[in-house]
């Protein structure tokens, strides 16, 4: 009896507490933050985000967090820091504590340890990042490495999901089934077949719940060359059921709207950036499970129009190369695709609207009364093929 009771209690606890992993992608583009200086300087924004992260960590003792900076020149981790050397440095009270000053040292001891670790590492790495940015890097470069940041975030989510699944050894572990189940030469045979199934989440409730929050300040116009990588990351999120939330402080990014729409995330363009913390707490704190019961602030009208490859015009109706799927706003000169160079047939699109010939109609009417039955009998097969 005891064992039965114990196992029941244990299982109840285990299913209730699927922790969630929040990955914050912080756009640290100095150009855009400089423009925001009046209403919301970066330091204040970081402080707000840290409070938000703490709130997330406080929701569940097992919740995890990761922070990636998407800078103008590179995307880099702010937390967790994987490199062994730097973690030893931070444990050694060297640069870190002296930066905070003596007065900060006393309250640190009373702080919940996960809060303190995140805060220390994020501020330290962010400072390092800003110090390493030279004015040369910024000249003529106003975009942000969003694709890299998303890819890093996804890699970490993948790692944490595998690790969490291994620790908890749940029944739904597609990874364990794919890898460990047939631990021998046979594993190779199943690998590719189970590949697609592996990554399409089977049971969302029992796995690590991951989501990505992008705090974005840059516009998307400069990051056109990142279109394909960003889209690839978005599709990966969609496939893994990872919602991408976007908190847009300035500018407007078409990619990000599409990202939220595709992954069923929350998109918010803040009209008043000073209230960042409140927006974060109200709109972005609930995890996937709570969101099912909430009415989410999501945009209804999403801009899905495409930009053509030739002039970067936004088009409603475009011409698409059937080989490489490049979009053009008008048939390319010489009818050769600009991207892949294939000669293309240009059909006469829309020049002749399809009309029903009149004569036939008249003929049918002549027979109309007598053959009411026949059109019916010929009419029935048509819905099948059509």
């Amino acid at each position: 009896m005891n064992s039965v009771d114990a196992s029941e209690h244990y299982e109840l606890g285990a299913t209730d507490l699927a922790p969630s992993l929040l990955t914050v992608v912080l756009d640290t583009n100095p150009h855009a933050w400089a423009a925001l200086e009046g209403s919301l300087p970066l330091s204040k924004a970081v402080a707000n985000i840290l409070v938000f992260i703490n709130a997330h960590l406080a929701c569940n003792y097992a919740n995890e967090v990761a922070v990636v900076a998407s800078h103008t020149t590179k995307a880099t981790w702010l937390y967790p820091i994987h490199n062994d050397d730097t973690s030893q440095e931070s444990a050694d009270p060297d640069g870190d504590v002296s930066m905070n000053g003596d007065d900060a040292a006393a309250p640190q001891t009373n702080k919940y340890r996960p809060f303190r670790l995140v805060e220390e590492q994020v501020t330290k790495k962010l400072k390092e990042l800003m110090d390493s940015t030279s004015s040369n890097d910024l000249r003529g470069n106003t975009s942000t490495m969003l694709a890299g940041a998303l890819t890093l975030a996804l890699s970490n989510i993948n790692r944490r999901t595998i690790a969490w699944a291994e620790e908890h050894g749940g029944a739904d572990l597609e990874d364990a089934a794919g890898d460990g189940g047939s631990g021998g030469a046979g594993a190779g045979a199943g690998a590719a077949g189970t590949g697609p199934g592996r990554y399409s989440a089977s049971n969302d409730d029992e796995r690590l719940q991951s989501r990505i929050l992008i705090v974005s300040v840059s516009g998307s116009s400069d990051s056109a060359h990142q279109y394909i990588p960003v889209m690839n990351s978005i599709f990966a999120c969609q496939r893994l059921h990872i919602p991408i939330d976007v908190c847009k402080l300035s500018g407007d990014a078409v990619f990000l709207q599409q990202a939220c729409d595709a992954t069923k995330g929350v998109y918010m363009a803040l009209s008043e950036p000073r209230g960042l913390l409140q927006y974060l707490m109200m709109a972005f704190l609930p995890d996937q499970r709570s969101r099912r019961h909430l009415v989410l602030p999501t945009r209804v009208d999403v801009d899905f129009r495409a930009a053509c490859f030739c002039h970067r015009r936004v088009v409603d109706i475009g011409y698409v190369c059937s080989i490489c799927l490049s979009i053009f706003c008008e048939p390319p000169p010489g009818n050769d695709c600009l991207t892949c160079g294939t000669p293309l047939d240009v059909g006469d699109f829309g020049s002749k609207p399809a009309l029903i010939p009149r004569k036939k109609k008249k003929k049918k009417r002549v027979n109309g009364t007598s053959t009411v039955g026949t059109p019916m009998s010929t009419g029935t097969p048509t819905p099948g093929p059509g």
Partner: protein, 438 residues
């Protein structure tokens, strides 16, 4: 045997030399054949296990796992022209031979399950393609679902098949003729493909199937077959004729996993054959609207508030991709196009890193610590004990020179199709972007 023979050679006299030569010639080929047969029969998996320094085999087992993970990755990444816009007919054998239980739970149920997975994965990989499902039962070809771009229709149609039982004999010819008929009207810029899941070893046809094959060849329909029982000559001929002599289009499943693998291979678009026409397609990119009052959609005549307005004529359709019911314009989201780009611009394979170059301490993307570099004299011990696997557990992207772990390698190539290193570094990313857009 050989040893004793040589001794015998030493002792023979010169006259007997000729005889001796013929004898050894006879013996050696036979021996080789025996050994070759043995290798074909069984893979001696236990012989590849090597005890590690700590007396366990865990390191070797991990190595084998890693190698198997990587095996599926190492595919050809040369950018090819692929037929991205596909028209595929999936023909499922629903004859009595599918009731066999050699694949668990039965061939029939497993096939239907895999068929559903295939439909899902197919539309994941080919969002602007069309699929239709047919069945072979009682000597007839039956239509399971019509050609359309909507996965849910196919999924529900296949689900309904589960309540029925497989019966009768299959007819390949009837199925092929019906598939040819439904592919007849598809535009020439798309591919025409037929995928058959065939569990039987016979085909009871009303006419000459060779003529059907000829017409398929002239209509440029490519047939791929996944066999469940054994190789069938007519299937082999059918596949190689319609694929210009390519034998790989016909595969026979060895077990359940291999079956799934064969099916999932088909979801990757085929490289285009030279003769397929390329054309410029006119497409509309509608934006989504939400109306205050419900109105009828043009495609199903159902009242709804949300929908997409055709960019040319303004009719409302409820789902994309679709063809505008009133003006015939192909309506599509730019994201649907973008989803196919990774087939056209594949991520390069990463290379194994030998101990000599293993300078990194942790995976660049996920931060998993790598095993430390052992002293130089131990390098050769761990070298090459599993093919395709890196001795140092590091894999390097040749473009950005960063090192990654096996899980990130898999993840980057199978799911994200981005290199975390290249995308995280400004200079590389710009160059990469130039490559893909130029």
């Amino acid at each position: 045997m050989a040893d004793s023979d040589e001794e015998y050679v030493g002792s023979v006299t010169d006259d007997e030399d000729d005889l001796q030569v013929t004898r050894t010639d006879q013996i050696q080929p036979r021996k080789r054949k025996q050994r070759g047969g043995g290798e074909w029969e069984l893979a001696r998996t236990w012989e590849t296990l090597v005890e590690g320094a700590d007396g366990t085999i865990s390191s070797t087992v991990e190595g084998l796992l890693e190698a198997s993970k990587r095996k599926r990755l190492l595919k050809d990444t040369t950018p090819l022209q692929r037929g991205i816009i596909r028209h595929v007919i999936l023909i499922i054998d629903l004859s009595q031979s599918m009731a066999e239980k050699d694949l668990r739970p039965t061939r029939y149920l497993l096939t239907l399950r895999f068929a559903q997975e295939f439909v899902r994965e197919f539309f994941e990989q080919n969002p602007i393609s069309q699929l239709g499902v047919m069945g072979l039962r009682d000597g007839l070809a039956i239509r399971v679902s019509d050609i359309s771009g909507n996965p849910t229709e196919h999924l529900t149609a296949i689900q309904e098949l589960k309540t029925q039982d497989p019966k009768g004999l299959p007819s390949l010819q009837n199925g092929l003729e019906m598939a040819r008929g439904s592919l007849f009207h598809t535009p020439s810029h798309g591919t025409r493909e037929v995928l058959i899941i065939f569990g039987s070893l016979l085909s009871s046809d009303p006419g000459d199937i060779h003529q059907t094959i000829n017409t398929l060849v002239t209509d440029k329909v490519r047939v791929r077959i996944v066999g469940l029982a054994a190789q069938v000559a007519i299937c082999q001929e059918l596949c190689s004729r319609t694929n210009r002599g390519d034998e790989t289009a016909y595969g026979v499943a060895l077990n359940e996993q291999h079956f799934g693998e064969l099916l999932m291979d088909v979801t990757t678009p085929l490289a285009t054959q030279k003769q397929s026409a390329s054309s410029l397609l006119m497409m509309g990119f509608p934006s989504r609207t939400v109306e205050p009052t419900p109105s009828l959609c043009a495609c199903h005549s159902k009242p709804s508030r949300g929908g997409y307005l055709c960019s040319r004529c303004g009719s409302k359709v409820c789902n994309l991709p679709a063809e505008c019911p009133s003006c015939g314009l192909t309506l599509i989201l730019s994201t649907h196009l973008a989803r196919s780009y990774h087939h056209l611009f594949p991520l390069m394979n990463w290379v194994e890193v030998p101990w000599r170059r293993a300078s990194s301490s942790a995976c660049f993307a996920c931060g998993l610590p790598f095993p430390a570099v052992p002293p130089e004299d131990q390098w050769s011990v761990t070298e090459n004990h599993a093919k395709g696997m890196s001795v140092s557990s590091r894999y390097q992207c040749m473009a950005c020179k960063n090192h990654f772990c096996i899980d990130c390698d898999l993840f980057a190539h199978e799911v994200v199709h981005n290199c975390p290193g290249c995308q995280s570094n400004s200079v590389q990313a710009v160059a990469d972007g130039m490559d893909t857009t130029a």
